[in-house]
């Protein structure tokens, strides 16, 4: 394999088990015989090293037969690489698909009043010009792109809500009660300012006809024989039934209620004081005027999820085109990679899964994933949370990977945090959540509020409820901890999920909701239930503007 492009060099290094400094790659690329240079540099770095440094390469170049070669002189070999390109087995990001890419990127991502100024100002053009190589290898004419050269000192990075190693629940009844109490306290705080909350106990003793307001968790939703809605709310003192008449303009909002979310209602008590007629209903919600934070410089983050390494359907080619692209000039500002769960296909996720696995051993799956991660430029900051296919408990919140798995995935010193977590990248708060609850939101709510084709709309619902998985007792599993880690206490600037393998994004009250696609082609199971996954896409987010571009690599 010719080793002239940085991407190839990095991949080759990865194959040897090394990562490399930016400069080292550039130096190797410029060498007269990159293959030999690389081999020697690797040799010099030694088996214990994790990354090949520029010093290693220089030592090779200076001391060895290649020493005379200056980087610039190697015009021929790079040109060759371009021409040789089509004949190689796996052309990197070259061929991606103008047409498809355009279509997907331009999918209308707006709706229901949420203003979506953009998305993708560069939409429709991912890679459409030409193979990326020419850009990287057009050095002879003008300003040579010297390869990625980010300045780590400009970055700022912080993780909040990580409960890895902090799991204190022991599965007692009291733990569960604590979680729900915590949920109620945090979310009711958001609503207290809007209504004059009276405890259920107090309302129970109020006289008929009086005005009342209550903040509570939805305990039960029933329709009455005459088509009205009976919503039972619960607070820490008891429950109270609230009736939403079917002809009220907000009656349709009842369709969007999920059990155990927190809402506030205002209304009048019936004559016998046994029930409240609701006049208005509020969710914690994101303020319409919310002003998201942005980064101070032009820097980008790739938001992906559901890699599913180990599956027979894992799209190695698409993935490698993606990682190759990250080495190109076009991607030079992509300094962060956020992966929202399902690194691997896992074991025992569904019956007879072993028959459909490419890699049956779970640890080998993670090893292989780590190999694929090595293809990512070494200078990028990587954040990973687990998903339902990962070897972590299924119940949410899911703590980050254990020590054993961390050791396997130690490349890049990736940040491993729990699901969900909020990572702050240069001021931009990104809430990462794998997205298991989306299935339930989509199943429970009317199709116009949430569907698999528009997963971001389901995310809007979660933003509105300020909770990533409100409904208890159904699809989503809950592990009780000392507090409810699933509440969105603060409004995120970006909400990033995966899980449903569909691509969708849009803005809700200025918060960008992104459900990234996956890197797994359609499985037999998906075929049987009519799910057509969006595989091989990488949404790229501008942290300074919160504009997003989707790139297609499949």
């Amino acid at each position: 394999m010719p080793l002239e492009t940085p991407a190839r060099i990095v991949r080759e290094l990865a194959r040897h088990g090394y990562n490399a400094e930016r400069e080292a790659v550039t130096l190797i690329a410029g060498a007269a015989d990159p293959g030999t240079t690389l081999a020697r540099a690797v040799e010099r770095a030694g088996p214990d090293a994790f990354r090949v440094t520029a010093a290693d390469v220089r030592a090779v170049l200076d001391g060895g037969p290649n020493a005379t070669d200056a980087p610039v002189s190697d015009l021929t070999s790079t040109v060759e690489s371009t021409t040789a390109e089509p004949s190689t087995a796996e052309p990197p990001a070259a061929e991606p698909t103008t047409t498809d890419g355009g279509a997907t990127a331009e999918r209308p991502a707006d709706d229901s009043g949420s203003p979506t100024p953009h998305p993708s100002n560069s939409s429709g053009k991912p890679n459409d010009e030409s193979p990326t190589e020419p850009e990287t290898t057009a050095p002879e004419t003008e300003g040579v792109w010297a390869g990625r050269n980010p300045d780590p000192s400009l970055r700022s990075f912080d993780v909040a809500n990580d409960m890895t190693g902090q799991s204190t629940g022991t599965g007692e009844y009291g733990d569960f009660v604590k979680v729900f109490k915590d949920r109620y306290e945090k979310l009711s705080r958001q609503l207290r300012g809007r209504v004059n909350h009276r405890p259920a106990e107090a309302i129970q003793s109020m006289s008929g006809g009086s005005d009342a307001a209550m903040v509570g968790l939805v305990n039960d939703i029933r329709s009455t024989a005459s088509g009205h809605w009976l919503v039972e709310l619960e607070d820490t003192t008891g429950t109270f039934p609230c009736l939403v008449m079917k002809d009220r303009e907000f009656a349709s909002a009842v369709d969007e209620l999920l059990l155990d979310e927190c809402i506030a209602v205002e209304g009048t008590l019936a004559d016998d004081a046994g029930i409240m007629f609701v006049d208005s209903m509020h969710s914690p919600d994101v303020p319409r005027t919310y002003k998201p934070n942005t980064a101070d410089r032009h820097v980008q983050a790739a938001l992906i999820s559901d890699v599913h390494v180990g599956s027979q359907e894992f799209m190695t080619g698409a993935w490698q085109r993606f990682t190759s692209w990250l080495h190109t000039e076009e991607a030079e500002h992509v300094e962060y990679l956020l992966i929202a769960g399902d690194m691997v296909e896992g074991v025992g996720v569904y019956p007879n899964q072993d028959e459909e696995l490419d890699i049956v051993d779970i640890y080998d799956q993670y090893e292989q994933f780590a190999e694929h991660l090595k293809e990512v430029p070494g200078d990028m900051e990587i954040v990973m949370i687990p998903g339902n296919h990962d070897a972590v408990r299924l119940a949410e919140p899911q703590p980050g990977f254990d020590e054993h798995l961390r050791d396997i995935m130690s490349v890049h010193d990736a940040h491993i945090t729990s699901n969900p977590s909020t990572v702050t990248l240069e001021g931009v708060k990104v809430l990462m959540y794998h997205g298991v609850s989306l299935d339930e939101v989509i199943a429970e709510l009317p199709a116009e509020s949430a569907s698999y084709d528009e997963p971001h709309k389901a995310m809007y619902q979660l933003l509105k409820k300020r909770h990533v998985a409100p409904q208890y007792g159904g699809h989503t599993r809950l592990a009780p901890e000392e507090k409810d880690y699933l509440v969105m206490e603060e409004v995120p600037d970006v909400f990033h999920t995966g899980h449903v393998h569909k691509l969708g994004w849009g803005k809700y009250h200025n918060v960008l909701a992104v459900n990234s696609g996956c890197w797994q082609a359609q499985t037999d199971f998906q075929k049987s239930v009519n799910i057509d996954p969006d595989a091989g896409y990488a949404p790229i987010l501008d942290l300074d503007t919160l504009d997003m571009t989707v790139r297609k690599f499949s």
């Binding site: 190693g165 799991s167 022991t170 896992g346 119940a395 703590p399 199943a443 599993r477 009519n530």
Partner: protein, 1212 residues
């Protein structure tokens, strides 16, 4: 019909009439919900159909039609009557279709099952998008009990009615078609279908279906794609609809086609495409068809037999004998504690022998009692096994006229064990079970399952026919007291094999096909260098002689042909290889430090091509013998070098595993109920009526309960009460229906519906009553002359679930409690037993005397000899049943209860007056199976220590049971007549199932499930049958040579002449209870299961461990962990349930302590064991890793990261 059959039925009916007279007298007193006996007698199927459907006139019409045409045709013919209105009183078109469909299903299920009433909810007429009308049939889950054919035909009938009424076809919307496909797949995944149509197939059916199939939601899982459709009112799978579409239409298409062709009005041309599988876009390759044919054994590569034949002819595979394909499906869903007895077709597993023992019928498997003991008692009479072939499952029956198992003892001796007593003696010393012995399957089983015959074992009954055909003087030898034809000595066997053109006697035919040609040569070499040692030398003469005797005579002491002691033993130098070879051949031998000693060696060395002086008489084998079955089968080699020919001794091995254990126990609700009287929560968890009568209610009153019961009115004084009899006038009261809205009093219409026309609503009689329980209980005790101390506890129910909520008189409960019996939901006392068939019995084995039998009307034994001795074999009559010991005891208690009830409650004469269980003989019982609604009258003739209910196979079939481990119940006749009431049945889907809505007083063999007709009833199978088995012929080819039950249907012989090929000395041999029931914890059972797996040569213990983890432990762990993280909670004090933990932490109802319903302990109970088993048995890494991931999950959920159990390292 024979005269004595006529007499037999008359006797039963006389006793029935006697019981009815008394029961009527009791019921007329009006103390029960209705003043008449509520189980009508049906003389025939037409009666049953009418009684179940409650449509007058149906029976008469069915009888008219039955003479002229088949039942299916009659069902279609009846559609005309319904449409014209000559049968059934329906005004609406939907009603007419509904009546016709229900009747069709009832007819096709012989009027026994509840499907016609419970499985079809309603029929509607709806509108297509083009404005035309179509018919919608709304199915429910219980349609399952109708079976595929009746389900499919119900659709056809609906379509026929539709066309006669001039209603248009259903035009499915595209989304509806898609929905059908998704939904059927979902149902298949969730519940499982016998046949899983592919999506394309489902859509094809949906597109062409002329009526709409709809139904009730049956599952919790919802479809994800095609939701919220306008004409489908649920997003869950509609189980009834899925069954009808997949197991009905898709699977039975050829059967429906037969009827569509007869009908001008109905045209389903698409059925042909469905059958051919040509609904695929590309024209198809008939895939659908082959799938349909193999639905039953999807695992096998195609049809098994045919394929194997073809393969031999066409491929370069080395030539070999015909063999059935191993099929592993029976190993699916293996459960911890239920052992595997043999892997598919594995050597060392059960050897297929053909024949029908007298306790053999449909879906039963004959096993030697010694085997039952040697598999550590896991098999007992009645234990269900899942089997490789010919069917899927069967009930185990003991047969001791077949060969027993062969074992290697700890001292190295290899012995065949043919005596159960010996099996028990040596059981602890068994190191390996080399062979499980023979496995008796009757020919009819292959017919019923339409399974190609599998190559037969070479056995005496085949050999003797061959010998006779070859000119052997069989008759003369049989009469010769000096010769034992069945177990000859070696000289005789050699003489017959060489002088006649006949194969070597099976006693001396070893399992040559289980060793390779190389091993054959090794053995021949070893034998050639062996020596003959005198019997008197050496220490092992004693036991050896004993084993000789046991080996072939099954326990008899005198044996004229016993091998001459002077024969000595063949002594071979012991090597591990040689031991293994002899073990595989099943050659009995003993072992010393240096040698292997084989008694009875003469024909063994002859088979090896050696002379009696151990001189080798051959040099080399032909290439053909060498290559036979790839060199893995030494049969050809033997035939080449031996002076006689041998057949394959046991070419078909049958793998199986334990299914359900046998059952014999009383049916109790949980908690048990003595009286169907509501006592709310006042009785505590025990539902103790006494406690409720003493407790104080909310208002502080003692013993006063507010309960929801049916309001009834006295016809004389008009007083309102919940009681069946007016306390003042002592006359029967009737339910009182008063419209809640307008106050009008309404009478139920003919169909029993109560509907207020003015307010357009259903009206109920249920109302709140305040019951003074203390007084009621006291007066009930007084009226039957009992005290509270007469019984340990009297249990009631929390509330009533029936439509009118009619409570039972407390008196009945008092007497039940006194006699220690409890009531089922319908008021009857029941006892459950596993069904097993038996066609001939000995009075002695039933613990009765020949006098009893003569009193019952039996006069002769099976050979026509007069009945004189207790051990004569007698052919059982069709409605005679044998009770298990437990059932007999329970029936005695019930009889005492009934007598008390008659005398003390109704003030009548007692009916039973039994002291000893002998006195139950001749009494009548009801037999009734779950999911059915018709009881069959049976007569008790004896008792068995096995935990099963033995009865004539036709009796079981009349209840629509086969005997593959199914269980059903018996009730005492008078108990049913007095205490059953439809008023008690729950008012919900399936409530009418399992209730005796009608009874059959006599069995008509033509009106029972026809699988029972496929039982063979001959004394021996012809030689040609055995030969056909070697060709793996279709069972149909030899059907004419073997008489089946169906051959005598409709003749005078239909009730008699059920002959058998094999006897068994007792129908209750082997352990009385399976070890599965006697072992305590699940862990004990599993340990025993794995221990047995190690002992059995035919079982791969790693695979067993793997499967137990995969199918039992992992699903349990995963399921419980899931349940934990989405569980409900419950108040420990008042029992109130909460979907989610209350924010208050305490119970909102009573302020009590609330707790979880799924705890850590129940989630991880199998974790450590599973990991340990995976380690110990070397399971796959994949399995181990799944456990590892789960273990970490459990730890993560249940352990505090900051407070982990400290390890030693923490202190170092």
């Amino acid at each position: 019909m024979h005269e004595d059959d006529e007499r037999y039925f008359a006797r039963i009916e006389d006793r029935l009439d006697e019981a009815f007279d008394l029961a009527r007298a009791a019921k007329e007193q009006g103390r029960d919900p209705r003043p008449e006996v509520e189980i009508p007698v049906a003389k025939d199927m037409a009666d049953r159909v009418e009684n179940i459907l409650e449509i007058p006139g149906v029976a008469e019409r069915v009888r008219e039609l039955e003479g002229e045409m088949s039942r299916e045709e009659a069902a279609l013919e009846l559609v005309n009557d319904f449409v014209e209105g000559s049968v059934g009183d329906y005004d609406s078109r939907a009603g007419k279709v509904e009546g016709a469909v229900r009747t069709a299903v009832a007819l096709l299920t012989e009027g026994v099952v509840a499907a016609p009433i419970e499985g079809i909810d309603r029929v509607e007429i709806l509108e297509n998008d083009d404005g035309t009308e179509f018919v919608n049939v709304y199915y429910a889950g219980p349609i399952r009990s109708a079976g595929g054919t009746a389900q499919a035909l119900s659709v056809l009938v609906a379509d026929f009615a539709r066309s006669l009424l001039g209603i248009d076809e259903y035009k499915a919307r595209d989304i509806e078609t898609e929905r059908y496909a998704e939904e059927v797949a979902l149902y298949d995944k969730e519940t499982g279908l016998q046949y899983s149509p592919k999506d394309k197939e489902t859509k094809f059916i949906a597109e062409h279906m002329p009526i709409m199939l709809d139904g009730e939601a049956t599952g919790d899982e919802e479809v994800s794609g095609f939701r919220d459709l306008e004409r489908v009112d649920t997003n869950s799978a509609r189980g009834g609809m899925c069954l009808v579409l997949a197991e009905g239409i898709a699977l039975k298409a050829p059967k429906i086609q037969r009827y569509t062709r007869q009908l001008d009005e109905v045209d389903w041309p698409w059925l042909q495409d469905l059958i051919d599988g040509t609904y695929y876009d590309d024209g198809g390759e008939g895939e659908g068809e082959s799938d349909g044919a193999d639905a039953d054994d999807a695992d096998a590569d195609g049809g098994g037999a045919d394929d194997a034949d073809d393969a031999d002819d066409d491929s370069p595979e080395p030539p070999g004998p015909a063999r059935v394909e191993p099929a592993a499906k029976y190993l699916r869903d293996l459960i911890a504690g239920r052992p595997v007895f043999g892997h598919p077709s594995e050597s060392g597993g059960f050897r297929l022998r053909y024949g029908r023992s007298r306790n053999h019928g449909f879906a039963t498997a004959g096993v030697h009692p010694a085997t039952m003991h040697l598999v550590d008692d896991f098999l007992a009479t009645g234990t269900q096994i899942k089997t490789e072939r010919p069917g899927k499952a069967g009930g185990v029956i003991p047969v001791d006229s077949i060969e027993g198992p062969t074992v290697r003892l700890a001292n190295g001796d290899v012995r065949r064990i043919d005596d159960p007593a010996e099996a028990l003696e040596i059981r602890n010393g068994v190191e390996e079970i080399l062979d499980l012995g023979e496995y008796l399957v009757n020919f009819g089983e292959f017919v019923e399952n339409n399974h190609p015959l599998a190559p037969a074992s070479y056995v005496y009954e085949w050999w003797v026919q061959e010998f006779e055909s070859a000119g052997g003087p069989v008759q003369a030898l049989e009469d010769d007291p000096g010769v034992d034809l069945e177990h000859p000595n070696p000289e005789k066997a050699f003489e017959w094999a060489t002088e006649y053109d006949c194969h070597l006697h099976p006693d001396y035919t070893y399992v040559w096909h289980d060793i390779s040609v190389a091993e054959f040569e090794t053995l021949a070499d070893a034998a050639a260098s062996g020596r003959i040692a005198g019997v008197d030398e050496g220490r092992s003469s004693g036991p050896r002689t004993q084993s000789d005797e046991v080996e072939s005579d099954g326990g008899m002491v005198v044996r004229p042909d016993a091998p001459d002691a002077a024969d000595g033993v063949l002594e071979l130098d012991r090597t591990p290889d040689l031991s293994r070879i002899l073990e595989r051949l099943l050659v009995e031998h003993t072992r010393t430090e240096e040698t292997l000693r084989v008694p009875n060696w003469r024909l063994l060395v002859r088979s090896l091509g050696l002379s009696e002086l151990l001189e080798r008489e051959w040099t080399d084998l032909s290439p053909e013998a060498r290559e036979w079955e790839g060199g893995d089968n030494a049969v050809k080699a033997v035939n080449e070098v031996a002076p006689f020919d041998v057949r394959e001794r046991a070419p078909t091995r049958i793998g199986n595993r334990m299914g359900r254990p046998e059952k014999s126990e009383s049916r109790d609700l949980s908690p048990a109920v003595h009286t169907l009287f509501p006592i709310t929560e006042m009785g505590g968890n025990q539902r103790d009526v006494g406690e409720a009568a003493r407790a104080r209610n909310d208002r502080g009153q003692r013993g006063k309960l507010d309960v929801l019961v049916g309001d009834r009115a006295c016809p004389d004084c008009g007083q309102h009460t919940y009681k069946n009899r007016c306390p003042d006038c002592e006359v029967h009261t009737e339910p009182h229906f008063e419209c809640e809205d307008c106050g009008t009093v309404i009478e139920p219409d003919e169909s029993g519906r109560v509907y207020c026309e003015r307010c357009e609503r259903e009206v109920e009689s249920v109302d709140w009553f305040t019951v003074d329980l203390a007084t009621e209980l006291r007066s009930a005790l007084e009226s039957v002359g009992e005290r509270e101390s007469s019984y340990p506890i009297l249990k009631g129910v929390k509330g009533l679930t029936s439509a009118n909520k009619t409570p039972e008189p407390i008196e009945k409960g008092v007497l039940r409690a006194k006699h220690g019996v409890s009531s089922f939901k319908d008021g009857t006392v029941r006892y459950d037993m596993t069904d097993l068939p038996v066609t001939s019995v000995r009075p002695a084995e039933l613990d009765v005397t020949v006098d009893h039998f003569r009193e019952l009307g039996y006069e002769t034994d099976i050979d026509g000899e007069p009945l004189r001795f207790d051990d004569q074999l007698v052919e059982l009559k069709v409605q005679d049943v044998v009770l298990s010991d437990g059932a007999a005891e329970h029936m005695l208690k019930t009889a005492d209860f009934v007598d008390d009830l008659l005398t003390k409650f109704y003030g009548l004469e007692p009916f039973y007056q039994v002291e000893e269980r002998d006195e139950l003989i001749g009494e009548l019982v009801f037999g009734m199976a779950p999911h059915t609604s018709a009881a069959v009258v049976g007569r008790v003739v004896g008792f068995t220590s096995a935990a099963v209910g033995y009865a004539h196979p036709y009796f079981h079939a009349a209840k629509r049971r086969n005997c593959d481990g199914d269980e059903d119940c018996v009730m005492l006749l008078m108990d049913g007549l007095l205490n059953f009431s439809k008023e008690y049945l729950p008012d919900k889907r399936g409530g009418q199932m399992d209730a005796p809505l009608v009874m059959s007083s006599r069995i008509d063999p033509s009106e029972i499930d026809d699988e029972a007709h496929n039982m063979d009833i001959v004394r021996r199978y012809p030689e040609s049958f055995y030969e056909a088995s070697l060709r793996m012929a279709d069972p149909g080819e030899v059907e004419d040579d073997i008489k089946l039950g169906e051959d005598t249907l409709g003749t005078d012989e239909e009730y008699r002449g059920f002959e058998h090929t094999h006897d068994t000395s007792d129908i209750a041999l082997g352990p009385d209870l399976s070890a599965y029931k006697t072992l305590g914890s699940m862990m004990d059972k599993m340990d025993a299961q794995l221990e047995l797996a190690r002992k059995l040569r035919a079982v791969d213990e790693t695979d067993v461990a793997e499967r137990v983890i995969e199918y039992h432990f992992l699903p349990d762990l995963i399921g419980n962990l899931r349940a934990f993280s989405r569980q409900q909670t419950r108040c420990l004090d008042c029992g109130e349930k909460y979907r989610r933990m209350p924010l208050t932490g305490d119970c909102r109802e009573c302020g009590g302590r609330v707790n979880l319903t799924v705890h850590r302990g129940s989630v991880n109970k199998y974790m450590d064991t599973a990991i340990q088993v995976a380690e110990e048995f070397g399971c796959r890494d994949y399995t181990k890793q799944r456990l590892e991931v789960l273990e970490k999950s459990l730890e993560s959920v249940f352990e505090n990261d900051k407070n982990k159990a400290s390890k030693l390292g923490d202190f170092m």
